[in-house]
Symmetry: C2
Subunit: 381 residues, 2 copies
């Protein structure tokens, strides 16, 4: 019998790599740092390591908490998944969370100092792709002394990374767990990203991406654009049904006020989410993460043929989607499943009934966690 | 046999009303002007008049063209519907298009001079509701000497007006034609409107809604916010499938450029739509039209009971929805249909298979126009 617990108090680590990294764009990062966290113990055979990849706004703080007195605000974003007795059981697995290159929580990104100028990179930070992230994560893998991951797991943009690991390093990943993801964005997905980017770039405080230098001089950060970007994002993370249930047409004060203050609860929710995000996230990181999403398409070099693109993969796969996810609908996950089956891969696929839309992948709904537990328990160490 | 033709060269008219109009909010407009157009001839019995109500960004220029040498850029927005031999046949019907109160194409709105100050209303223009629009349209109806409309027709927000006519003036409308509409916005609908409003209001050039005075002094209009609002709107007007078909992941230059210029065709489309709209539309009008959408809910005074709310209606109804419309999905139209049937109304309902999403109501697809023609031909004059 399980007694799910937190991994407890955790602390981030960093590792710096001085060998340059050549990115897909051709740009070269002379050096870079990755922030990461680990939970559980690497076993003697080094066969129990699981990498957790984050999505658009996530980071390396996946589980546990930073402040025992303020667990509410300092707990990792996928804490319900990871810990003793949880689906990704830290009594059995050594779990690693990493902040991606270009991030804003400790890994080298637009806020970091550009060694060539001594100033923050800002807009000069090169665009990074999902492929580049996996290249950088491979350096971390080496650093940790891990030959092959027992599993790489991620939701949404994190799921793209789990898939890309299986393509870039077929020998270094035994199980790829791709959740609420897609093999490539649709035109509608790109359209929402483009609105977010235009919102950020048309914020006068964005200043072409060079806004850090001015911040200390009293200039403000481009919060207004980032806030809008997050608001539009949030609409796509929730399902129509869930919004109807959570907010419906419920009003703040029970009657119409005939002005532009908050009248409906949904307005209050969106403004709050936007404000909160704009305080903590970096606009340049948000921009480049949306581009990484847009660019990802393993079939691009195969004339759009996903079957051919996934032929390199050797891992076993767990793929999961959620019925009410309209950002990356179940159909998109099934494209991955069919292409993998075409290539004779072992694939477990779960299409989970959950009303929370795209964000379902972050919840601890019983069927979902049961499917994850069953799959993870079956991984041989 | 029909030979569909244009109504040809047309010109807008205006009518001013000097008796004050008390709005739903309690605010009073001391006087107001409505811009309108008419096509065809009012018959001797004055029984063949059809009012066309516009949606969020429409106006009174519904059919015909203003410039014979530039028909492409000067043709009315629903010209495919209206004309000799077209579904709304001007050989039989007298058709009226009207720009709503608060509009920016000739009717009194935020750009108009406030008689109290001698300056443009700007943000001081009162919020208007669908109910207020129908009050104002009733004045125009009187002015034209029309006792009862043979039909009132509209799509989207225009459909709400067609419905509201049947509730506000049950004796003055014989047929209400409600297309691609909804009895009230969902939380998700309100959420998209709120993003649009925040985009406009956070544009520094918006200046709290008082931006006209500054325009002549060289200050710019809040185009950046209006552009974003239109971009996000456009995503909701098209279907995911249609976007996939029209744009997919097609790139401008065939390869990734690793910068924030247009790379995918969908980005180019959205930017173009946003730019074009921001040049011609008014930000204050856009704001207040989104609020009119949010507020509309005939069931509000009936504890959410739509059956009770629609009991007043006496008209016959034509209701149509489109299978790929995810802004106002067929389910929303069916709510109207069920409530009308509950009240014993005659209702024709068409759920039309069309891949163009919400914008389907503007297209001349054969099944859709056949349904409109059949219904309109059946109207007794």
């Amino acid at each position: 019998m399980k007694h799910p617990q937190s991994v407890g108090l955790v602390a981030p680590q960093t590792v710096s790599f001085s060998e340059p990294l050549t990115l897909k764009s051709g740009a070269r990062l002379p050096e870079f740092t990755l922030a990461y966290e680990t939970y559980g113990q690497l076993n003697a055979a080094r066969s129990n390591a699981v990498l957790v990849c984050h999505a658009l706004s996530g980071n390396h703080h996946v589980a546990g908490y930073y402040d025992a007195n303020d667990q509410k605000h300092s707990t990792g974003w996928w804490d319900n998944l990871i810990g003793p007795g949880k689906p990704l059981d830290t009594r059995r697995f050594f779990v690693v969370g990493v902040n991606n290159l270009g991030g804003c929580h400790g890994s080298t990104g637009p806020r970091s100092l550009n060694p060539a100028t001594g100033k923050p990179y800002g807009a000069d930070f090169p665009l990074v792709t999902v492929e580049d992230w996996i290249l950088a994560q491979a350096r971390l893998t080496d650093h940790l002394g891990i030959d092959a991951w027992a599993a790489v797991i991620g939701g949404s943009l994190g799921g793209m990374q789990a898939l890309q690991w299986a393509l870039a390093y077929p020998e270094r990943i035994r199980h790829s767990m791709v959740i609420a993801s897609t093999p490539r964005l649709s035109a509608q997905n790109i359209a929402f990203n483009e609105v977010a980017r235009q919102a950020i770039m048309s914020d006068p405080d964005f200043n072409g991406g060079h806004f850090y230098e001015y911040d200390s001089n009293g200039r403000v950060l481009p919060k207004s654009g980032l806030r809008l970007a997050r608001m539009v994002g949030h609409i796509t993370y929730l399902s129509d049904d869930q919004m109807a249930e959570k907010f419906g047409r419920r009003m703040r004060h029970g009657k119409h006020h005939f002005n532009y203050d908050v009248e409906f609860e949904i307005e209050s929710y969106l403004r709050h989410q936007g404000d909160k995000f704009a305080e903590t996230f970096d606009a340049n990181t948000y921009l480049l993460a949306t581009k990484a999403l847009d660019y990802f398409d393993p079939s691009f070099d195969y004339d759009g043929n996903l079957n051919a693109a996934l032929a390199r993969a050797k891992a076993d796969f767990f793929v999961a989607s959620f019925t009410t996810d309209w950002r990356f609908a179940p159909e998109r996950s099934r494209e991955i499943v069919y292409a993998l089956l075409h290539n004779g891969r072992n694939v477990s696929y779960a299409e989970i009934d959950c009303d929370a839309g795209h964000d379902s992948f972050l919840l601890a709904t019983p069927h979902y966690h049961a499917a994850l537990s069953a799959y993870l328990e079956g991984i041989l160490l």
